[in-house]
Point group: C2
Chain length 344, copies 2
Amino acid sequence: MRQRRRGSVQRVTMSDVARVAEVSPMTVSRALNQPDAVRPELRERVQEAVRKTGYIHDRIASALASHRSGMIAVILPTIASSMFSDSVRGISEVARARGAQIVLAETNYSVMEEEAAVAALLGRRPDGFIVIGTIQSERTRSQLVRAAVPVVETWDTTEEPVDSLIAFSNRDAAQAMTEALADLGYQRIAFAGVANGDRRARLREEGYRAGLTARALHAPQVVYVEDLTSMRSGALVADMVTALAPQPDALFCLNDVLAAGALLALQRKGLRVPDALGVAGFGGFDFAEHLVPSLTTVDVPRYAIGHEAACVLMDRIEGLADAHKISRTEFQICLRESTRDIIL
Amino acid sequence: MRQRRRGSVQRVTMSDVARVAEVSPMTVSRALNQPDAVRPELRERVQEAVRKTGYIHDRIASALASHRSGMIAVILPTIASSMFSDSVRGISEVARARGAQIVLAETNYSVMEEEAAVAALLGRRPDGFIVIGTIQSERTRSQLVRAAVPVVETWDTTEEPVDSLIAFSNRDAAQAMTEALADLGYQRIAFAGVANGDRRARLREEGYRAGLTARALHAPQVVYVEDLTSMRSGALVADMVTALAPQPDALFCLNDVLAAGALLALQRKGLRVPDALGVAGFGGFDFAEHLVPSLTTVDVPRYAIGHEAACVLMDRIEGLADAHKISRTEFQICLRESTRDIIL
């Protein structure tokens, strides 16, 4: 039976590394803490010596010394959705390149859990926060303002960002899709939303309603599901929409997972997409363009949003930028086979 | 222009919280550091006072005092795949319930990046490590052993786990699927693998070859792709497999993303699944059962693996378990519409 307890983690010291690398301990320290300040060949020599000696660079001690923890906190609604994992991948690549680590917390689309996550993470003294979404709670907002760390919110517009914002308008994007469907000749466009209070979901529903009004289509038909990230939920949407009277001629889903689930369930019922019912999603998922028929969607640059958010945050952390930044990301309406292509 | 710098984070002290909650500072400390040791009503009162005062519990200071950072490091091949994000979700729910935070690092299936990630994370003094996969590098292994923190490896068997292991055999699972396909009467079963050296991919290919041998089917036909996590890559597999001579009658893909991409691309070519070609995947993704036709797959309890790994790790961290644990997870062969159901 092996016993494993926290033991003598730091037997190898910076001086040992310095000796092996044949440089001064100061050079080792700079190579580890500010790699960009050291010539590449010296850096390589130090890194080689770190590998040889098995030295562990104590980042907690250096965090206390430098007032930087080297960690960036990422708050996201759920890890389960590839929608957000693409953004996390964008963040992760920048973090790795710039020597930061990601601390992750999920909110499960809950304001209570958001408060808990931010409070817990603040206690770890991250150098900054990236929020997939915008901060919902006033209490959380004021906590972040008081902590005076840079914050980048993403994936939505807000009138009152805590600090920086990489945004596209969920409302405008949903309105644009609804109008595009109307321009294809669809007259009874139904919307699949979620029953809970997720802000982005509400904004997309608002955009749908505004789009109907803009094209003089009235009587919105909305069905709600509880779970917004499963194909099974999309199959439920298909059931509910086919039961509506009058029968819609198009279905616009809150996201591509619901839309794909609905499209496949409609196929299984023998209903032809797009002839019997046009289907559109939101998010521009990888699988959307591979489905048969391929899925019409609002394409959002998920990876790029994460990448840009992390760049903005790291610039602030490293003192390369002083002011907050409000940046606009574009969305794109991708019309594919799941909606008819005759513009009436 | 708002200036945001790390400022007076800790104006509110534990004594302020104690005053508002009308308890002793000691009680506040215990309620925050060992919540289970405090009566629920006291805990609630302290939490309410924390909320009211906006107190930030400094976990770095308490980490130095307790020798525990409250962070668990999670090493995974890629965030982009919903395969692993389900496991991370399992880890995340346990971590949240037990007051730990997740620090995340990707390896991109690279041994070099695995070394870099573990070294960087060790410097943050996490209380333990969960690895999605098994540790590949000898250097990383010895670093973890020296650091004497609990480690849970998952998603694969290995003869030499660093510490604990939650495993299923990728080799056995792939062999079982190959034999199941043979038992359905398929005689020329092709396999889609990856060109790079990912260990799990190699083991699945080995299992495929062993399955052919076990059923006296010879001449394995293997096609390789570079990218194992995109639908586009699955479409490439479909192209390569239809070009093989003799023409395979079944295709077994390394994972469900490749299999779904192949299945949809075959449909687009007008090839009927499962009549012209049976298709099977690996992983038991959510979408597998919703595809039309639904996808035959090796179902792996992705969420449960993460959940169990986190429970095992937290037990070790909290001193509830002393010894390492080797645990076996089951896989299941799910035969669905993408393979024929006549047993010849």
